[in-house]
C-alpha cells in the first residue's frame, strides 16, 4: 500500500509539472488574443500612461517567458498567483474566498451522489428486470440526458411554488466565524448549529440540481457493475458454499462492483466543480465556478491561469484519491504495484 501511495504521489507531481506547462500555454494564448484586458479593467477613460504603468506592474509588457517565469516565481516563493484584473486583488485571495465554498458544495454533492447513486443502483440490480428496476433505469436515463441547468430551473420553480427551501443565496456568516472559508464547516467549528442548519437548508437546491445527473449516471454504472458481477463465478461459488444472501449482496457482490463505480464516481465529482457555475449562478451560490466564469469572460489573464491551475489540481487530487480508493478495494492493483 505504501508503494501504491508513492506511485500516486509521483503521478500527482507529474500532473503539477503538466499544469505548469499548461499555464505557459494559457499565458501564450492570452497574449495572443486581441483586446487589452488591462485597459478594460481600468475603466473607459483611463489615460494611456496609467495603463502602461499597470501593464508593467503586471509584467504584461515583458516577453512571454519572462512573464511566465515571474509568475512562476511568485507562485512558488509566496503562493502569489498574480493580480486579478477582475477583482483587483491577488488571485490567491480570490481562490481562498471562493474555492472553499465550492468545495463544500461539491462535498455535500459528492456524499449525496455516492449514497443515493449506489443505493439506487443496488436496488435496481437486486430487482433486476422488475418494474422497479425498469422505472429506475428509465428515470436515470432521463437524468443523464438532462442538462444540469434544466434541473436547476425546474427545482427553482418547484421550490418557489411550494416554498419549501430557500431559492437562493446563503446566510451571511459573521466575519469572526471564518476559519476555513467553508460556510457550514465554519459554523460547526464555532458550534453554531442553528446557522449550520440554515446553511444546509440553503444548500439543498443547488446540491440537488448539481447532483441529480451524476446520481442517475452513477446508478446506471453501479447497476451495470452489479449485474455483471452477479454472473461471476465467485458469486455462484459463494452462494453454493452457503454465504447468506445479505452478505452475498452487500459484501461479496458490492465490493468488486464498487471498483468501476468508484472510478466513474471520481470523474463525476471532479467534473462537478467545473460544471457547477450554472447552478451557482442560478442559485446565487458564491462559489469558485462562478468566479471562473467571470474571469474567463473578463479574459483576466492571471485569473484564467489560476483557474485552470486550480481545476487541474483538483482533477489530479480527485483522481489520485480514486486511485487510492481503487487500490484499497482491489487487492489485484495494490499487490501488483507494491510487490
Amino acid at each position: 500500500m505504501r508503494k501504491t501511495v508513492v506511485a500516486i504521489l509521483k503521478k500527482l507531481l507529474h500532473t503539477v509539472i503538466l499544469l505548469l506547462v499548461l499555464s505557459f500555454v494559457v499565458f501564450s494564448f492570452i497574449r495572443l488574443i486581441p483586446g487589452d484586458p488591462v485597459k478594460i479593467s481600468m475603466g473607459p477613460m483611463t489615460p494611456e500612461e496609467t495603463i502602461a504603468q499597470k501593464r508593467s506592474e503586471l509584467y504584461f509588457d515583458r516577453a512571454l517567458p519572462i512573464q511566465w517565469a515571474h509568475w512562476l516565481k511568485g507562485v512558488i516563493t509566496e503562493g502569489d498567483f498574480g493580480e486579478s484584473l477582475f477583482t483587483h486583488r491577488n488571485v490567491a485571495e480570490d481562490i481562498k474566498q471562493y474555492l472553499p465554498k465550492s468545495l463544500e458544495l461539491v462535498f455535500y454533492c459528492a456524499i449525496l451522489i455516492l449514497i443515493v447513486g449506489v443505493a439506487v443502483g443496488t436496488i435496481s440490480a437486486i430487482f433486476k428486470n422488475s418494474w422497479l428496476d425498469n422505472l429506475i433505469r428509465f428515470i436515470s436515463y432521463l437524468g443523464v440526458c438532462t442538462p444540469a441547468y434544466a434541473i436547476g430551473v425546474l427545482l427553482l420553480v418547484f421550490s418557489y411554488t411550494l416554498g419549501i427551501f430557500p431559492i437562493g443565496g446563503m446566510p451571511t456568516i459573521p466575519d469572526n466565524y471564518v476559519r476555513t472559508g467553508m460556510m457550514g464547516l465554519d459554523c460547526l467549528l464555532v458550534g453554531d448549529f442553528a446557522l449550520y442548519g440554515q446553511v444546509l437548508k440553503c444548500m439543498v437546491l443547488p446540491c440537488l440540481s448539481l447532483s441529480l445527473g451524476s446520481i442517475a449516471y452513477m446508478a446506471r454504472i453501479h447497476r451495470g457493475a452489479m449485474v455483471e458481477n452477479i454472473n461471476a463465478d465467485y458469486i455462484a461459488f459463494a452462494q453454493v458454499a452457503g454465504v447468506s444472501r445479505g452478505k452475498l449482496v452487500m459484501k461479496h457482490l458490492m465490493k468488486p462492483s464498487f471498483i468501476p463505480t468508484l472510478t466513474i464516481y471520481g470523474l463525476q465529482v471532479a467534473s462537478l466543480i467545473g460544471n457547477a457555475f450554472i447552478i451557482e449562478v442560478i442559485f446565487r451560490y458564491p462559489g469558485f465556478s462562478q468566479y471562473s466564469l467571470n474571469v474567463i469572460q473578463n479574459k483576466d489573464p492571471y485569473g484564467i491561469v489560476a483557474v485552470t491551475f486550480v481545476f487541474g489540481i483538483i482533477f489530479a487530487v480527485v483522481n489520485a484519491l480514486v486511485d487510492i480508493g481503487v487500490a484499497f478495494l482491489d487487492p489485484r492493483i495494490r499487490i501488483n504495484t507494491s510487490e
Binding site: N129, I230, N231, A232, D233, Y234, I235, A236, F237, A238, Q239, V240, A241, G242, V243, S244, K247, K251, H252, K255, P256, I259, L329, D330, P331, R332, I335, N336
Partner: protein, 326 residues
C-alpha cells in the same frame, strides 16, 4: 432404483438461454442420477452443457438468461422447487468451479470469504473458533503455510493453491453431494494430479457422492465409477467408466477415445470433423448427425432416445451396437 436413496436425481431437464441473437436450446431434455457415495463422471466437448447441468443441480443458474424446465431435480430426496426447497438443496450440495481464479472473490481476503461461509453454517461461534476451523479446513487439503494463505487475497496465491482453497471451502459444508466442474483444467499436469488425488481421497474418506466434469478423460477414468458422455446438451452414453472407455458404443464416444493421443505412441485417429451444431435452431434429429459416420435418414429426422443396451450400458443412437461401422 429407490429414488429416496439417490444423492442427485435429475429428470428431463431442459435449459434454454435467452441471448441477444435468440434462444439457445442448450439442454433439450436430460436425465441423470447419482447414487449415494457414487462417483460419476461427465464428459463432452466444450460447450456441450456440462456446467449448465451442474449449475442447475446446485440451483445457481442465473435466470435470466437461463430458462429452466424440468420434471424434477432432487438432491438427497429434496426437490429444488420453491424457496424452501432451494435453500435446503443448496445446503446439500457443494460445488467446485472450473476456474479457481474466477471462483474466489478477488476483493476479499481468503479468511473473510471462509468466515462468511462458516458463519452461515455454524452461526454464533467465537472468532478464534472460526479461525481454528479454517486452519483445519486448509490442513485437510494439505495446504502449505495455511496461516499465510488465510491472510492473503486470491491474487497472491498460485493456481494450485487457489484450487485447494476452493476445495477446502466446498468441503466446509457437510454435504452429501460434491459437484466438481473441471477442477483441474486451469492447472499444469503435475499440479493437476495432486489436486485430483486430493479430491479423490477426501470424497472417499467422507463417503460423498461426486460428479466430476473434466476434459481430461484420464482423470475421469481414474476417479469415477460411472460416466455420462454428453454431446450438444444430450447424454449420448452412460455406463461404468472402465467399460465405456474400453468399449465405447456411441459413435461420438468412439471418436473421442480414438482421437485422444496415447502414451503408447500408436498414432492418432483422424478425430471427428466439424463442430457442435448451433443451439439456436438445433437440428431436429440427432444432434450428432452432421458429424456422424453412421448418419442415415432416420438420424436426421428423429432424435434418438437413451436406450438400455444388454451390457448395462445406455446409448442414445439409432445405430447403437454397430461399432463395426467406425
Amino acid at each position: 432404483m429407490e429414488k429416496k436413496n439417490l444423492a442427485l436425481n435429475i429428470e428431463n431437464l431442459s435449459v434454454k438461454y435467452k441471448i441477444y441473437e435468440g434462444i439457445l436450446e442448450v439442454i433439450p431434455g436430460l436425465s441423470m442420477h447419482v447414487e449415494q457415495a457414487e462417483r460419476v463422471g461427465l464428459i463432452g466437448e466444450t460447450g456441450c452443457g456440462k456446467t449448465t447441468v451442474l449449475k442447475s443441480a446446485a440451483a445457481v443458474l442465473q435466470s435470466p438468461p437461463a430458462i429452466v424446465h424440468k420434471d424434477a431435480i432432487e438432491v438427497c430426496g429434496v426437490s429444488v422447487d420453491g424457496k424452501k426447497g432451494l435453500r435446503s438443496v443448496r445446503r446439500n450440495v457443494s460445488m467446485i468451479f472450473q476456474d479457481p481464479s474466477s471462483s474466489l472473490n478477488p476483493t476479499l481476503k481468503i479468511s473473510t470469504q471462509m468466515t462468511d461461509i462458516l458463519k452461515s453454517q455454524f452461526p454464533g461461534k467465537r472468532k478464534a473458533e472460526y479461525g481454528q476451523m479454517m486452519l483445519d479446513a486448509l490442513d485437510s487439503v494439505s495446504m502449505p503455510a495455511p496461516e499465510r494463505v488465510l491472510g492473503s487475497y486470491p491474487v497472491q496465491l498460485s493456481g494450485g493453491m487457489r484450487q485447494r482453497v476452493c476445495i477446502a471451502m466446498a468441503l466446509m459444508k457437510d454435504t452429501n453431494l460434491m459437484l466438481a466442474d473441471e477442477p483441474t483444467t486451469a492447472l499444469d499436469v503435475t499440479i493437476e494430479e495432486q489436486i485430483l488425488d486430493l479430491l479423490d481421497k477426501l470424497v472417499r474418506e467422507k463417503k460423498k457422492s461426486l460428479i466430476l466434469v473434466s476434459h481430461a478423460l484420464g482423470a475421469i477414468r481414474k476417479i469415477t465409477d460411472r460416466v455420462y458422455v454428453m454431446y450438444a446438451g444430450n447424454v449420448v452414453e452412460v455406463g461404468k467408466t472402465k467399460e465405456v472407455f474400453e468399449h465405447p458404443h456411441h459413435p461420438y464416444t468412439i471418436g473421442l477415445m480414438a482421437a485422444t493421443p496415447k502414451l503408447t505412441g500408436s498414432g492418432i485417429a483422424d478425430g471427428i470433423a466439424g463442430d457442435i451444431p448451433s443451439y439456436i435452431n438445433p437440428p431436429k434429429g440427432c444432434r450428432f448427425a452432421s458429424r456422424c459416420p453412421r448418419c442415415t435418414q432416420e438420424c436426421l429426422e428423429a432424435p434418438p432416445i437413451l436406450a438400455d443396451m444388454e451390457d448395462g450400458r445406455q446409448v442414445a443412437c439409432h445405430h447403437a451396437g454397430e461399432e463395426a461401422a467406425v
